[in-house]
C-alpha cells in the first residue's frame, strides 16, 4: 500500500509538471489499478521496462489540462478504512469516483459497482482505497 500511495503522489507531481511519462514500481496491486485506469480511459496506456521491475505510465491530457486533478487517500499502510454496504450505497457512492477493494468483485470503481447493484439486492462492502478528482 505504501508503493501505491507513493506512485499516486508521483503521478500527481508529474501532472503538475505536464510530463508525458512517469516511471513507478511494479507490484501486483499497481498493475491491477493501472489496468482499471486504462479500461476507464484515464491514462493512454502503460508498459513494463526492460528489467521488468518498473512500469512506464503514459499520461493523458484534454485541451492541455490533466484528466486527473488529484487523489485523496483514505487507507494507508498503518490504517485501513472499511465501509459497510449500507453506508456505501446511501452516502459515499454519490460523492465522486472511488476505488474500492470488495470481497465479491475484487478491485472495482464505485461507478461500475452502482451499475451492478442498481436495485440494492446484493450486500457489497470493502476497503476504501482512494478518491479521484476528475
Amino acid at each position: 500500500m505504501v508503493i501505491v500511495s507513493q506512485s499516486l503522489g508521483l503521478i500527481n507531481m508529474a501532472y503538475k509538471e505536464r510530463r508525458r511519462i512517469v516511471i513507478i514500481k511494479r507490484t501486483k496491486l499497481t498493475l491491477k489499478i493501472l489496468q482499471l485506469f486504462y479500461e476507464e480511459g484515464l491514462i493512454r496506456g502503460y508498459s513494463l521496462t526492460k528489467d521488468l521491475k518498473n512500469i512506464f505510465i503514459f499520461l493523458k491530457y484534454y485541451e492541455n489540462k490533466p484528466l486527473i486533478k488529484g487523489f485523496k487517500l483514505f487507507s494507508n499502510a498503518r490504517k485501513k478504512v472499511y465501509v459497510s454496504s449500507n453506508l456505501l450505497f446511501k452516502y459515499i457512492i454519490s460523492k465522486g469516483l472511488f476505488l474500492l477493494s470488495t470481497d465479491r468483485y475484487g478491485l472495482i470503481f464505485s461507478a461500475r459497482l452502482s451499475r451492478k447493484n442498481h436495485n440494492l439486492t446484493k450486500k457489497i462492502g470493502g476497503q476504501l482505497l482512494f478518491k479521484l478528482d476528475v
Partner: protein, 99 residues
C-alpha cells in the same frame, strides 16, 4: 491565487534571458572612475528597464496551495501541503518520525 504562480513563472523566464544585460548596465553606473555623464546616461537606461528583470522579484511558491509563506525548497511545497503529503505516504523517501 493561481495567477500569482503564473506571474512568478514569467519573471523567472525574463530574468534568465536578461540577467547579463541587467548586471552589465548596473555595473557601469556603480564604477566611479567613469565620467559622470556616461554614468548618468546608463542610470536613466536602468530606470527605464522593467523591474521584473531583477532577481529580487522572484519568490518561491507552493505548487499546490500557491502560498508564498514557509515553502520548503526541496519539495516546492507549503508546510501544510507537506504535512498532508507525508501523512498519506505520497512522497518517496520521506516518512514521519520523532525523537
Amino acid at each position: 491565487m493561481k495567477y500569482l504562480n503564473r506571474k512568478d513563472n514569467i519573471r523567472r523566464k525574463t530574468y534568465l534571458t536578461t540577467e547579463f544585460e541587467y548586471i552589465r548596465i548596473k555595473a557601469i553606473t556603480r564604477t566611479r572612475t567613469l565620467p559622470s555623464t556616461i554614468r548618468f546616461f546608463f542610470f536613466m537606461k536602468l530606470n527605464r528597464m522593467s523591474k521584473n528583470m531583477s532577481k529580487i522579484r522572484i519568490k518561491n511558491r507552493c505548487i499546490f496551495t500557491n502560498s508564498a509563506k514557509s515553502v520548503y525548497r526541496d519539495f516546492r511545497l507549503n508546510r501544510s501541503a507537506l504535512k498532508e503529503f507525508v501523512g498519506s505516504d505520497q512522497l518517496v523517501g520521506v516518512r514521519k518520525s520523532s525523537w
